[in-house]
Amino acid sequence: MPRKSILAICRHAPYGNTLAREGLEAVLACAAMDQIPEVLLINDGVFLLLDQDAQQIGEKNLRRNLTALPMFGVETLHLCERSLQERGIDPAQLALPGAELKILKQPGEFISGFDQVLSF
């Protein structure tokens, strides 16, 4: 049976609830099972890429979890252009070591190309 393509949609900001953390953990779990998913940061999920000092609120830095993704084979992060614009984030200021950041104008078209979609 051909392998199915998997997309993880992360649309929640870090720290306010557990979804952002759970999403990244699911991505790592998929990758560890040799099912490397694509990752789409959309809506408040784009806030994951900002530099963070989570110690201030006694949390573990979630951006650090993002930086682990390339080591697990997730080498591209897809970002929704509109979500970045709405939140005043300049894509030119964003970077993640070892990962390519791809800006999507049409996230819906991108999503429709996958077999399985995990939502966080």
Partner: protein, 92 residues
């Protein structure tokens, strides 16, 4: 094409708005649970000809379904899932 399923009231959270931002022509939208309150939302335009609503959830909540939204039962929901790929949940 994608089937988007929303289960949150548009007045309580961003699930429907986030879904519509990622809606592609040819996709379908299914409103379930508190998502059916979107039928009462005057601010948000739902995709015409592509929006479905679970009859039981709407009736249970006293939400009247506009003519632009197709009211369906669970069996039709299953059919929608087989007709579309992928299925994306916008819960929370």
């Amino acid at each position: 094409m994608t089937l988007h399923i929303v289960n949150q009231s548009p007045f309580a959270g961003s699930a429907l708005r986030d879904c519509l931002n990622a809606f592609h022509p040819g996709d379908a939208l299914l409103l379930i649970e508190d998502g059916v309150y979107a039928a009462a939302d005057r601010q948000t335009a739902l995709p015409t000809g592509a929006t479905y609503c679970l009859t039981a959830d709407a009736r249970a909540r006293g939400v009247s379904i506009p003519a632009t939204v197709e009211s369906i039962d669970e069996a039709r929901w299953v059919t929608l899932c087989t007709e579309h790929n992928p299925v994306v949940s916008w819960f929370r």
